[in-house]
Amino acid sequence: MIAGLAFYLFAGILIASAVMVVTSRNPVHGVLFLILAFFNAAALFLIAGAEFLAMILVIVYVGAVAVLFLFVVMMLDIDFARLREGFRRNAPLGLVIGGILLIELLLVAAAWRFAPEAAALRLQPVQPDGVTNTEALGRVLYTDYVYAFQIAGLILLVAMIGAIVLTLRDRPTAKRQDVAAQIARSGSVVTRRVPIGAGLAETGIARPPLPEAPKPKQVEHQGGGHH
């Protein structure tokens, strides 16, 4: 019973927050609702028995991707009045495009035919002999499809190197810190242990001279003082 209630609770919040992502006026609120939607999706994964996927969803999407989203959206300089300026004029075009997309989606959904064994596989954890789904996923990824997995990794690596190559420029004016040079520098600073008081004589540092006794001010009265 609890699992059933939890499912409807999480599914309800998921759909509500997904709607709020699209409709909320403030983009930061939109991203925060998106995060709420991710959380509820993770909870649905948990109910379906896919605890590894649930945790990865939270770690990758909520913990990393959404933080960057939030970062960017918070930095945007948005003028809300200008954003809604062309709404009346563009609304018919938007409605037409939306309608076409909806019809296409309905066509695809209507023509979809499930594989005959799909119903049996649905929501069934891959647990042949009591292995956890972390192990099951690990076997699939690293044993059965290891070459495909490695190729995917290489593609990501190429994308990363591409991004670095495109953005890295060596400007001659840039100042860089050379940590190795800083650490390797020696000679100017020496640490020694000296008994209290001996350091003064040994290093030749004299005590600071006592301040001279204040002299009585000799004011010369030259006639025209400004009193």
Partner: protein
């Protein structure tokens, strides 16, 4: 009926964890002030109660009685939500921490991932607070904090992976049991040191407390907060410290295990050992605060990306290589 009983039992266990935890947070602030006082040849809090022992309660009461101020330019909902997020995230991590053999609220088999997820969410309380305050200082603090936490999470993740390879499980109790005979701090000593430093960065503590850099940001993200909202941030930060100390003792210091498996040590029950280990790690937190100067921001980023990340990645490769070569992989 059985379900009602189950819920009631869970609530009681949660209270048994949360109430001592909050007390621990209160006295952690006291311990911090005492230890730093001793290191700086001062006495620390002395006047409220014997040896100043009632000081945390007095501080709490003072914060409770102050006025809650919401700045007029603030985004009200998020402004109020942010301290709650910080505080709740600091508490829910404790659900999977094993205090002894079988003494755990939820013994889930992805415990490490759960903790990692929770600690990576900690950034939201700070970034929401910084943005909603509508203040330059708070926003700068929040930006620094999120960049810092995202960077150090990567090295923490890789460090955890080398521990997991050795333990062969994602379940925290199983990780502790795998350390019987040899705590992971010995084979993974370099990673232990890296974890200690990343832990300081992840909880925004000295010497990596750039987000609340008093000298340049007037305490950063929480500058606009007062009263209980501020207190929730404070409690959250310290509860997070205790949580990270607990994670550290589970991953490296053998959790509830006694240091030696023979008689005088095994008389002391596991939870006591666990708490002692947490206290030892917390002392390192305070020690670092008392002795180390604050990092410069670019140095902090350099340390995370150019030193910790390659080192921990190398250690994952070395660990898996050794485990495969000597056929030590856990089955």
């Amino acid at each position: 009926m059985a379900e009602v009983l189950y819920v009631a039992q869970t609530v009681v266990i949660v209270l048994l964890i949360v109430v001592p935890l909050l007390l621990g947070v209160a006295y952690l602030t006291y311990a911090e002030r005492k230890v730093i006082g001793a290191m700086q040849l001062r006495q620390g809090p002395m006047t409220v109660g014997p040896w100043g022992l009632l000081q945390p309660l007095a501080d709490g009461l003072k914060l409770f009685l102050k006025e809650t101020v919401v700045p007029s330019g603030a985004n009200r909902g998020i402004f109020i939500l942010a301290p709650m997020v910080t505080f709740i995230l600091a508490l829910i991590g404790w659900a999977v921490i094993p205090f002894g053999d079988g003494l755990v609220l939820a013994d889930i088999n992805v415990g490490v991932l759960y903790l990692f997820a929770i600690s990576s969410l900690g950034v939201y309380g700070i970034i929401m607070a910084g943005w909603a305050s509508n203040s330059r200082y708070a926003f700068l603090g929040a930006l620094r904090s999120s960049a810092q936490m995202v960077s150090y999470e990567i090295s923490i993740g890789l460090i955890i992976i080398s521990v997991l390879l050795t333990a062969g499980s994602l379940n925290l109790s199983a990780i502790v049991r795998a350390q019987e005979g040899l705590w992971f701090v010995i084979p993974h000593f370099p990673m232990f040191m890296l974890f200690l430093a990343s832990m300081l960065a992840e909880t925004n503590r000295h010497p990596f407390d750039l987000p609340e850099d008093e000298a340049s940001l007037v305490t950063g993200y929480n500058v606009e907060y007062s009263s209980m909202a501020f207190a929730l941030f404070f409690l959250g930060e310290y509860a997070n410290m205790i949580l990270m100390a607990a994670i550290c003792s589970i991953l490296f210091l053998g959790g509830w295990l006694a240091p030696f498996g023979f008689v005088p040590f095994t008389w002391i029950p596991g939870p006591i050992w666990f708490i002692l280990k947490i206290c030892a790690v917390l002392f390192i937190f305070i020690w670092a605060r008392a002795t180390l100067p604050r990092y410069r921001y670019d140095q902090l980023m350099r340390l995370g990306w150019k030193v910790f990340l390659p080192l921990s990645l190398l250690w994952v490769v070395v660990t898996s290589g050794v485990l495969v070569a000597f056929d030590l992989l856990p089955r």
